[in-house]
Symmetry: C2
Subunit: 98 residues, 2 copies
DNA sequence: TTATTTACTTTGCAAGACAAAGTTATTTGA
DNA sequence: TCAAATAACTTTGTCTTGCAAAGTAAATAA
């Protein structure tokens, strides 16, 4: 193996994205409003982090209506869960292994 | 308690600083060259991360000579170790608690 | 019909990350 | 003795991030 810090996934360095993924690891189809509240983010900020995670295919997006109101919700993809687990392993290896 | 992601220490979000601190948690007086090699960093990059950690009083710096060559080495301060532990706790709480 | 809600997008800026090159002060080697 | 190397930076420049605030759109509720 090479350098331990290089195993850390750059996209998960950011604490907001870390928070989003932590939630999506254990809950499916969490919606925009809930993430926003839980993580205490502005709309724009959340939207941009969501876009970054989707670009990597780490999350998938479902748009629907609840009653008559639009509702956007998110789920981690298989690849996202995998990448996140690997990130956590990399973190652990870094912390314990030096 | 408030928002779980706000307990994450911004200074430790960066993987290089995370790497530096991980090393300094378990080894005292690691020198510039060794950190640079281990983490595979350029001089300037390492210097700037070191400066950021020192500014927070998370590490302290010792300048000496080994033989006739100058040698700069680093140690985590008590405050640095404390802050790092709290960061790890915050990470754990985030990952397990959502 | 005006206000509200949801979920964005756009704008603009400040901060961060990093490589590469330059600097200083020694020191070792030819 | 003079050129090259070493250690540890600092400076410069650029590209990327992060984020708030404001603007937008489409629908509904008052």
């Amino acid at each position: 193996m090479q350098n331990l810090i290089e195993n850390i996934n750059k996209i998960f360095e950011n604490r907001t994205r870390l928070g989003i993924m932590s939630i999506l690891m254990v809950h499916d189809w969490v919606d925009f409003g809930e993430l926003k509240e839980t993580l205490n983010l502005t709309d724009g900020n959340l939207a941009s982090h969501i876009a970054a995670l989707e670009k990597e295919d780490y999350i998938q997006i479902k748009k629907a209506f609840i009653g008559k109101r639009p509702n956007t919700s998110f789920q981690a993809t298989k690849a996202g869960k995998q990448a996140f687990k690997e990130h956590l392993n990399a973190l652990e290896a870094l912390i314990k292994g030096m």
